[in-house]
Amino acid sequence: MISEIIYFSVFVAVGLTVVVLMLGLQKLLQTKRHSDAKLSVYECGNIDVVSDPRIQIKMRYYIFGLLFIIFDVEMIFLFPWAVVFKSLGLVALIEMLVFIMILLLGLLYAWRKGVLKWT
């Protein structure tokens, strides 16, 4: 029990140290050159944030986002599978391959339909 607490504390200490070190070093080393662009609010993929809320956003963002989520979710399935993979045997391997193939087919579909081109 005690050893675990020590173990845990060491992790916390190292973590904190790293964070403090990083931020502190940056504070020490940075050069300060202010501009309007740096002070403005920033949101991923969208530069002009404070404006009419009904602004048009490129559909590509959503499609990329969706494709990303699909493979993100695939990861969630892969982790528990990987943990018990040994006990499940060959069938599980094939099933997972089928699963990945189906998802890949989705990617292939998006690719062939030309949605991966940005312009």
């Binding site: 189906i102 087919l105 292939l108 579909y109 062939r112 339909k113």
Partner: protein, 466 residues
């Protein structure tokens, strides 16, 4: 865990064909894509054929998540047969999206419905349900018009709300019983007093599934979707997802919630009455044929729910029979609309004026389908209603049967306006309305089935052991 793959053959076939068709969409030239419809049709027929070998088989797969029994097999058969008719009818249709996309979405939706019919577990049920409706959302929105997009968006948003309610209900049931398997839930609940929280969960599941079958007051999407979706899609929606909803209803409630049977039977009776009344009355005021059929679909959900309100095996078999009968007639009438709209006719009731003179066969077929929907002998709808309301009377739900019959009388009022236009009003032009061969064949087949089942219902009833 040993899996009898043969028991999953129909599902695997549909899945395989759906993938192949989707790949075909990606790699075939525009001309070669025409073949994808034929491929889909052959795939469905092959699946139907392999399904016949499962007739009478009782088994469970995937650790009891997936059960095969007579009801599931028969429902899958109805689903595959009607889907085959839709595919046949749309072989030569102008598509709003690529052929491969259209047919593969339809096949994926069918696949989901097949799993719904066999689902024996809450999780399986939910996943199957989502697999059924997600392609349906896409199909509804596949036409690039405001109406189509509006319908798809409404269907999608409301569908999400329903799914959330359903999932919440399922989680409550799981929380109370610690089980997701239907039979395990029943075992956990057996011999105990009904907890209020169980009822909350139950009502939520009723609502979630009630949405999928368009029961009042969760029907709002139906008229918009039937009107706004491309016509081939609307004809598919009349059979596919609805079959899944009813399959889930007659699988989940009698098995898992047998203890609360009188309560959910009462709930379904309420929904049945509301659906019949609102569907039929609202249909009376419609001037657009597809909207009219949309409300008629709501009304027919009401009739079908009578089978669940009866809550015995007689009621369920009557429900399945009526579902077959209804889906044939509804599909047939949508296909007639498909045939006329493909030749540039409008969709208002008045656009059917004098169809008898311009396309006697189409008008005749439409009249038969509408008569069957009203329930006039010797068409199948009559026999369906006889068995359905007969089941209600048998269980002392005479008031429900009376409301059903009265509603059928009311429904005659709006179906007959269409027939009147077709036969008694003179057309504005005498141009013949031509129909593509596959669509014609499909309509004729459905017509033959509607008449045959009306004259000799035992042919089907003996299959479901009534």
């Amino acid at each position: 865990m040993q899996i009898e793959w043969i028991n999953l053959m129909p599902e695997l076939m549909i899945f395989g064909v759906a993938i192949v068709v989707l790949l075909g969409e990606l790699y075939l030239s525009a001309n070669a894509k025409r073949i994808l419809g034929v491929v889909s049709l052959l795939g469905i027929l092959a699946a139907l054929f392999s399904l016949t070998s499962l007739y009478g088989v009782e088994a469970t797969e995937f650790m009891d998540m997936f059960s095969i029994d007579l009801t599931a097999t028969v429902l899958k058969g109805i689903l595959l047969a009607t889907t085959a008719l839709v595919v046949l009818a749309t072989l030569r249709s102008r598509m709003t999206i690529g052929e491969g996309e259209f047919f593969s979405m339809m096949l994926f939706s069918v696949l989901g419905t097949m799993f719904m019919a066999s689902a024996n577990d809450l999780i399986m049920l939910f996943i199957a349900l989502e697999l059924t409706v997600l392609p349906a959302y896409i199909l509804v929105g596949s036409k690039k018009t405001a109406g189509s997009a509006e319908a798809a968006l409404k269907y999608f948003l409301l569908g999400l709300v329903a799914s959330v309610i359903l999932l919440y209900g399922m989680s409550l049931v799981y929380g109370l019983t610690g089980q997701t398997n239907f039979t395990a839930i029943a075992n956990a609940l057996a011999g105990q007093a009904i907890e209020p929280l169980l009822l909350v969960g139950m009502v939520m599941i009723v609502v979630g599934l009630g949405f999928k079958v368009a029961a009042v007051p969760f029907h709002f999407w139906a008229p918009d979707v039937y009107e706004g979706a491309p016509v081939p899609v609307a004809s598919f929606l009349a059979v596919g997802p609805k079959a899944g909803g009813f399959a889930a209803l007659i699988h989940f409630f009698p098995v898992a919630l047998a203890v609360a049977a009188p309560i959910w039977a009462g709930l379904f009776a309420i929904l049945a009455v509301l659906s019949m009344l609102l569907g039929n009355l609202a249909a009376l005021a419609q001037t657009q044929v597809r909207r009219l059929l949309g409300y008629s679909a709501v009304a027919h959900t009401g009739y079908l729910l009578v089978g669940l309100a009866v809550a015995d095996s007689f009621g369920y078999t009557a429900l399945i029979f009526y579902f077959l009968v209804y889906s044939l007639a509804a599909l047939g009438s949508f296909l007639v609309i498909l045939a006329t709209t493909e030749r540039g006719l409008g969709e208002n009731v008045t656009d059917f004026a004098g169809l008898f003179k311009r396309a006697p066969m189409l008008a005749f077929a439409m009249a038969i389908f509408l008569f069957s929907l009203v329930g006039i002998p010797p068409f199948a709808g009559f026999m369906g209603k006889v068995y359905l309301f007969g089941a209600a009377v048998r269980s002392d739900l005479i008031w429900l049967a009376v409301i059903g019959v009265l509603n059928s009388v009311v429904s005659f009022g709006y179906y007959v306006t269409v027939i009147r236009q077709m036969y008694l009003v003179n057309p504005t032009t005498d141009d013949a309305v031509t129909v593509s061969k596959p669509l014609y064949l499909s309509i004729v087949l459905i017509m033959a089935a509607v008449v045959f089942l009306g004259v000799y219902p035992s042919a089907f009833l003996s299959i479901i052991n009534l």
